[in-house]
Every structure is written in structure tokens, then in C-alpha cells.
Symmetry: C2
Subunit: 549 residues, 2 copies
């Protein structure tokens, strides 16, 4: 069978645009002689609409779109993803379904069996799981239709409770009893740099174990925090990847399920390059899908804002990024010089406002109430909040989205000012540890120097008091980041981290800082997710809790 793998970038709730894209691909596939066009999970409405799924009008628009797409399926069939109504009188209202469209109508439906409800996933909130299994026949082949997680039944759970499987049912085991010739899996599987091998391994294992070829079509594109990387595949019955599609870009390819032979794979990339590509896509889609064109941010001369600025220029173009330099009396000379050099290298507009007079006016206004009290973090925060207010003024006046430049190490330990440098519509590197921000800077500079060398090599400083260094209040980042990775991504207990040889007091302090700053992260902007455990929707912690660590 000739199948068109259609790897598209959908916009949640934009039924018209999604439908037009899908129908255009169906027509292209038909023109090129394909018998079937396959799209990704919830392609009709985009993945994941969360509680829009509870709205009746949203389901009506979905059904209308499905009908229109079905009408386009004549002389070619298609598999699309959509929520469908659970017709039983009991249970959740919806199913997460793969629909086989042929001859103008829905000929077969397979509901998703395994509903991920961990990390960023919330599917059991809206969907009733499937409990019956059937294959359907098309063009002489018996096809098993599955949705994403359905192939992930032996995913090990992510910590040490002695569980071997997260799920009780194995959909492919059930379906294999009906001797399918082909498995189709439609997915919406987000990128994370430290689980990138898992997906391919799962597909290969399934194909090999059940001796059946797999066509896997993934969503591509960013939906606020989540970045879907594409990388759709066709795997033969021996468990060899024959076709691998583009990462972080739309793609279209017609494959033949009978074909064997030459592998067509993507060039392999380093983790840092993938993170780079993911963040560029994340910025670009946040803007295009909210209808904004231009970004602003503050350039401090430091590495975080430099990296975010370079990524923004790659995503939006130099003409759509403008920056503000906002020195105070504590700013070093190189801050302004480094920021100006970067702006020049990138060819973007930079304005400069010295914040000192505004800060002085705050100090004067508060002098009565603060009389006799020594300066402390209060005065540092006023500087950060003055900068935040100026940036938002630019954002308001010119319709720019303010990009937040906090990195993951800072977010973790609360090294940032709420309503100050934590401002922004989107946190670009909030899931990238400081040590990886340096690697990103080097990667950005790999062809020519964009980020000034001095920005990369000088010791990190917030410059909120004389001669301040990050290392005055925090452990060195190369140690801190290792501890944070173990506590956050690996979910290790502090005692287990200490047992690895990290200093007891440093581990306790890092863990204490992470826990006491939940309230700050609660009000942080959405963070582009590139790891297996980002701050935000995938990590839900009570604000008012005691952690006896």
C-alpha cells in the first residue's frame, strides 16, 4: 500500500486552518498516487486543547471539520485524529480517536486505550479509555489503528517504586491476535532532549516483537510550552527504520509498505543543536499562533539575555526584535558595551535608558517608611522591577511580546525577581540549565562570533549591588546544575544525591531553595519545555506544603 505520511503543524482550535492543511495534503497525496494519507493525533483540533474539550461548541466544530475532511476522501482514504463522543451512558464524555475516512465517510474508529496522565499529560481528565480491539481491512491489508501511548505499554515508570509497567493493558498484544499486516500509530509526542532515544526504541521493539511494519506519524510544532518535534517514521517488520522524516519542521512523504531496501534517515544532531532548533521553533510558533510579530527583551550584557536574543532573531528576523539596555549605577562598563556589540552583530534596534533616576525616586518615596532600616534585597528588587516596568511599557506601546530570559537554574532556586526580571510572555530558556546556556552560546557562535566572547567568559552577575556575583549566593553552577538535575529530572531523594558524593549541605540547601520557591514559579511565564521535567504544567507542586528534607 502506498501511504502518505503527513507531518503537519496544527493550531489548537483553529479548525479552518487545520482542515485546509489536511485537505490540501490529502489532495496532494491522491495526485501522487497514494492510497492512504495519515495525519497525527487530534489533528483536527490540534493537541492538546485541555478543557476546551469540555465545551459543546468545540465538539460541534470538531464534528463539522471531520465531516468536511471525510467528504474530501474519495479515491483516497485518510486517517485523522479527533475527539469523539463516548456513546455509552457511563464514563467520561469523550474518546481520543483515530478515524479511518474512506468514500466520503468514517469507515472505522479506533479509540485510544492508554491515556497518559502524568507529567504534562492530562488525558484521563477528558477521555474514556478503549476496551475493545479490532483491525480493519483496506486494499487487501489488515490494519491495526493505534493512538500514540497505545504502543507505550511497557514504558517503565519514572522512579523507584519497583513497578515494571505503568499500564495494565497492552493494545498491541490484543490487536496482534487478529494478525494485522500493518500498524498505524498517530501521535502527538513532545520533544525532550534527554528522552530522545526512547521513542525510536519503543517503535523498533514493537515492530520486531510483533513482526509487523509500523507507520508512525507525529505532530510537529509548538503549542505554548510543548514543542512537538515530528520525526515520523516507517519501520519494517524486522524492526528497521526505513524512513525517518524531518525534525522540527513540517514534512510530507509517500512510502510503500511492501518496500524494503535503502534506509532514508535524518542526519543525527547533538542534544544542544536539537535544543537550539526546538527553542527557535517554540518562539516562532508562539508568535505566529498568537498573531504577534515582534519581540522585545532587556539586554544586560550577560549570557542569558544574549542567548535568548540570538534565538529570537533566528525565529523572528532581526527586524522584529528590539532590545532595551537599562544600566544602573551598579552596572559595569562592559555590560553596556557587550550588549551593544551583540545588538550590532545581530543587526537589531537597541535603545538605552538609565534607570537610576527612577530608582532614586522610588527610594525617596519610600525613605519615610524605611527610615533607619538597612538596604537589603528590597532595593535590589526595585531595580529589577523598574526594568520590568520599562520593558512592559515597550511591549504595551509597540505591541511586542516581552521575552523572559530566566534560565532553569535560576528558576529552580528562585534567583530572580517576581514582577521584575521574571516578567515576560514566554520564558525561552527556562528549561535550560545555566551550564547548557553556555553550550547554546557556543553553538550559536559556531560559524561566527555573534555573542561577544566577553559575555561568555565573564563571571555571571545580576549587578544589583556593587561587585555582586551569582556565586556569592549560589553554589557554582557546574555543581548546582548536577544536583538540580538529579532532584528534578531524575526525581532522586536528597539522601540518594548525597550518597553519590555531593556535599550534604549543598544538596540540602539546593533542595530547600527549590521547594521554598514554588510560589515564584507559580507566577512565572510559560516555559518552553525541552527536558523530561520542566517547571510548569508537567510538575505540579503544592504551594503551601512542608517538605521535611
Amino acid at each position: 500500500m502506498k501511504i502518505a505520511l503527513c507531518q503537519l503543524n496544527y493550531h489548537i482550535g483553529n479548525f479552518k486552518q487545520n482542515r485546509e492543511k489536511i485537505i490540501a495534503c490529502i489532495e496532494r497525496a491522491k495526485a501522487q498516487g497514494a492510497q492512504l494519507a495519515v495525519f497525527s493525533e487530534l489533528s483536527v483540533c490540534g493537541y492538546y486543547p485541555i478543557d476546551l474539550l469540555e465545551r459543546k461548541e468545540f465538539l460541534n466544530w470538531t464534528r463539522e471539520s471531520v465531516d468536511e475532511i471525510a467528504a474530501a476522501c474519495n479515491g483516497i482514504a485518510a486517517v485523522i485524529g479527533a475527539p469523539t463522543i463516548n456513546e455509552s451512558l457511563k464514563g467520561k464524555k469523550l474518546h481520543n480517536s483515530a478515524l479511518f475516512l474512506n468514500k466520503g465517510r468514517v469507515e472505522h474508529i479506533a479509540h485510544k486505550t492508554l491515556l497518559p496522565t502524568y507529567d504534562i499529560f492530562d488525558e484521563y481528565r477528558h477521555f474514556e479509555p478503549n476496551k475493545t480491539f479490532s483491525v480493519f481491512e483496506f486494499e487487501g491489508e489488515r490494519v491495526a489503528l493505534t493512538v500514540c501511548e497505545d504502543l507505550w505499554d511497557d514504558q517503565p515508570t519514572n522512579n523507584s517504586f519497583g513497578k515494571s509497567k505503568l499500564y495494565i493493558t497492552s493494545p498491541l498484544e490484543e490487536l496482534s491476535k487478529q494478525n494485522p499486516d500493518l500498524v498505524i500509530n498517530i501521535s502527538a509526542s513532545p520533544f525532550s532532549y534527554n528522552q530522545e532515544g526512547a521513542r525510536k526504541a519503543i517503535m523498533l521493539k514493537n515492530a520486531g516483537e510483533y513482526g509487523v511494519p509500523i507507520v508512525y506519524v507525529n505532530q510537529v510544532g509548538a503549542q505554548t510550552e510543548l514543542i512537538f518535534d515530528g520525526g515520523s517514521m516507517m519501520i519494517d517488520r524486522k524492526g528497521t527504520v526505513l524512513h525517518e522524516m524531518a525534525y522540527f519542521a513540517e514534512d510530507f512523504k509517500i512510502i510503500d509498505t511492501q518496500q524494503t531496501g535503502q534506509q532514508q534517515l535524518q542526519a543525527s544532531k547533538s542534544s544542544i543543536e536539537k535544543i537550539h532548533d526546538a527553542l527557535v521553533l517554540g518562539i516562532r510558533d508562539y508568535f505566529s499562533k498568537t498573531g504577534f510579530k515582534t519581540a522585545t527583551l532587556g539586554l544586560s550584557g550577560g549570557i542569558d539575555s544574549a542567548v535568548v536574543c540570538a534565538l529570537a532573531v533566528r525565529a523572528l528576523g532581526a527586524q522584529n526584535v528590539r532590545v532595551l539596555l537599562m544600566p544602573s549605577k551598579y552596572s559595569s562598563d562592559h555590560s553596556v558595551a557587550d550588549a551593544e556589540a551583540l545588538a550590532k552583530n545581530l543587526g537589531i534596534r537597541a535603545d538605552l535608558i538609565n534607570i537610576q533616576k527612577i530608582v532614586d525616586e522610588y527610594d525617596k518615596a519610600l525613605s519615610g517608611i524605611f527610615e533607619g532600616l538597612p538596604p537589603d534585597v528590597t532595593e535590589e528588587n526595585i531595580q529589577a522591577r523598574t526594568r520590568g516596568t520599562l520593558l512592559m511599557a515597550l511591549s504595551n506601546k509597540f505591541g511586542n511580546i516581552l521575552l523572559n530570559t530566566s534560565n532553569k537554574s535560576e528558576c529552580a532556586v528562585g534567583y530572580g525577581t517576581l514582577y521584575g526580571d521574571m516578567n515576560g510572555g514566554l520564558a525561552v530558556i527556562g528549561d535550560v540549565y545555566k551550564t547548557d546556556v553556555f553550550k547554546l552560546a557556543r553553538f550559536i557562535n559556531s560559524e561566527k562570533e555573534i555573542i561577544p566572547e566577553n559575555t561568555i567568559v565573564k563571571p555571571p552577575s545580576a549587578e544589583l549591588r556593587p561587585d555582586q556575583k551569582d556565586s556569592d549566593s549560589l553554589p557554582e553552577y557546574d555543581v548546582l546544575d548536577q544536583i538540580l538535575f538529579r532532584y528534578i529530572e531524575m526525581n532522586l531523594a536528597p539522601d540518594d544525591i548525597i550518597a553519590e558524593g555531593f556535599e550534604t549541605e549543598t544538596v540540602r540547601r539546593a533542595v530547600r531553595l527549590v521547594n521554598m520557591n514554588e510560589y515564584k514559579r507559580f507566577q512565572a511565564p510559560p516555559i518552553l519545555r525541552v527536558s523530561s521535567k520542566a517547571f510548569g504544567f508537567g510538575r505540579r507542586m503544592p504551594l503551601v506544603a512542608k517538605y521535611e528534607g
Copy 2:
């Protein structure tokens, strides 16, 4: 059997404090001749720890606490709630369990069957549902042990998809086959003013339908946004409430399951009084559980800040609340006068800072970049952000938590400045529509005038430009709030709201404003929840989505 109903206020993760409270109650119950002491759902760790449940050390601390509490059960038994390890090799790691402790050990465990995963509930994220049912015998009575939602199997789903039941299993139907003499239900059921009748109705229906008495013990106290109201009950086999415990306060009572006769009920209260009591508890617990004592807020002379201030004084005491008055050149004379009158009535410290010089300094700093551009919302936001910065300076310097004063109508339509008046550690009335804020003000004034009459009767205004009124940019609140309630709480489609007789353009505009302001609410403080659908954790909407309304 004589049973002590122990309605306590737990602190999430504070194992030591929770354990000491539980053991003290067991000893008190024993001293007073009870045979069994019953506590609420997840009482050992507090409801709901969310992803702390994924941490191994958290489960270790839970197990140690359970062991200590079991050791206290000699000469008396107890039912407590705790997460327990799912011993099966497949499925989620944990169960949400009710543990029957007797003779120093766990004698019986019942796992929760129905795991709420809607609105603010996330239980399927962490727990594997129970699938087997058994009663146990104690003191000659056959006891069916259930956890919260287990009695809510015929809860109708909250919208119009033609579903009759949210769940497939009925735990009480299963357990009733074993002829229990008594049903014990341990709960953590949060308050909402517009579903207050549902809980009692469900309990009465179950008792009557299965002809068995029910002992229902609920958690009390606030956990950040969620306010648990207590109201534990004992219902006889005929479906009559014999005992009803305190609302919004800890309580302890020994009942006899054999007893019939006189009903002991709580005095009934109006919805507004319940909301008032809920908010006072919500503030008090947020402070006591985070270890803070003092609050600050800005008083504008308007009704929102006045109501929040009065509630804060009731929760924390006048000596622990201090306010800032921050007039600008657009402030009317009555703003300061009304705010000062309120502060005097409440006996709290009030300071005044005129923001004009700071605002002028911002304008000067931006004059070059903004040259030739007309004033717009940018300049209004600078005023709001200057106030937000001053309030945070007080918060930082004196260790006060800033209370946010936005109401639900404003949160809904985005009538507020991010990083300005949207600042705060806790949004006190963010789930109270403006029309209900007026009712709260009247309730607060019911014994004597605390909130100045002028604050209540003058037309609402943000005073960010000359002669501004809320009604310049928004529909009148009595219409707006009705539309918002239908769209948010009732989840009605816009067309259905219009069909009720509301003006088409007003409905479309309100819905558009709600949808386009998801990004603002994403960064809002936690909001004390008093309705069936509050902004925050219980309403999860994609930021980057199109709504074709």
C-alpha cells in the same frame, strides 16, 4: 458502636504536626469511651500533595507516620487516610487508601475506587483505582470503608453531552452485596457555594437507597486555593442527618451508630456568609501554613481593596495588616478619604505615598522612545506597575505577604495590569464576581459600618485617567456577571447564552475577552476558590489557541 468523628485541619507534608494532631484525637476519643476514631482522606500527609506523591522520601515519611499512629491504637481503633504502594507489578505506583488501624497495626485497607480527575482533581495522575471490594468486622458490626468520591458514582457530569454517569463502577453497590451494617466515608471535599447542597443530597440518597447508616468525615482548612469546609456528618439508615459538625473549623464529636432521635445540626447560613467564612479561613491558613504573620495591600478607596482588607483583618488581626495609599494626579479626593476612613475603622496602620513623581520619571525616561506617540494603556499600566512595585517593596522589607485584590469579573475579562494590580501572593476575591463583592461588603457592614458607605455606592473606577469609569470599557457588572457565570461556571456555549435573551454583541465580546486573557491569568496569583469553577488549577485552557466563537 461509639465513633469519634475527628474533623481536623492538616498541613500538606507536615507529617509531624498531622501525626501529633491525629494521635491526640485518638487519645481523647479513647478517654471518652469511643471504640473507633475516624479521620479524613489522606489525613496523614494532607490533601492534596500532587506531585510530592511521586517522591520516594515522601512515601517513606508517610509510612513512618502510619506506623506511629498505628502504635497509638490500643484499646481503640482508628481509620486514617494515606497513600499506599500498589503492590501489583502493573499500573500506577500508589493507591489512595483508607486504613483501619487496630491493636497496633493495619488490620484492613480499602483503596479508593473512583478517582476524580476533573476540575481541581488530579487523582488518576498518581493512583491506581481499586477493583475488589470487602467489608470488615469490628465490634460486631460489618463495616464498609470508602474514600470520598466512592459514594459519588451517580454524580451527573457537568455538561450537556447526554451522559448520565461519570463512572462505570458503583462501589457502594458492590459493597452492599456483603451486607454492611455501617458505611464509613473519609473525604477531602472542598467548598463551593454553588454546589453546597450536592454533598448532603448524595449522602442522604446513598443511606436511604442502601438502608445503611453513613459516617462521613471531611477535611477542614485551606490548602492554598482549596478551602475544605468540614461539615462531617452521621446519617442514619433512613437517610436522616443525625449529627452535623462545624463548617470552616476543626471539630470533634462522639456519636453512637445505634442511636436514633434528636437531630443535631448546624445553623444554616447564607451563601454570602459561607463565602465570607471560607475566605477568612483561606487567608488565615495560607499565612499560618507558610509561616507568615503579616499582610499588606494597597487601598484605593474602592470596594475590592476595602473588602479584602476587612477580610484580612478578620483573619490575621488588625496588628498584622498594614496598607499603602498611593494616589496619583488622577485620584479623586474621596479615594484617599475613603481609604483613610476604612483604615481608621479597622484600626490598621496606613501609609501614603503619592506616586506621581515616580510616574513622571518613567515618562521622562521613555519620552525619547515614545516621541510623537499618543498616550494609551501604556501610561495607565505604568501607574499600576509603580503601585505594584511599591507594595512589593513593603512586602520585601517587612516580610509581609501582599494580598491581591482583583475580583473574578476583572480576572475574567482581563481588566487588570499584569505585574501591577495583579501582583500578590494570594488573590483573596479572585473567585468572587463584582456583584457578589458588593454583597460581601454589605455583609461585613451588617453589625456596624466598617467599609465606608461611599466606597460601596460610588461607581467603580480604576482612576488611571481623568474621570475613568469601569463602565467605559466593560458592560455593567450586573449583566456581565450573569454572562460570565453562564460561560464559566455553567459551561454554556455562547449561542445558548444569547438564546436566554442576552444581547448578542455583549455575549460575544465577554467571551472574546475571557479567551484572549488566558495569558494574563496564567501569571496570576493563586485564587481562593469558593465556586464550582474558579480560575486556576481547576480550569486548564491552552494559551495559544483559537476560539472560533
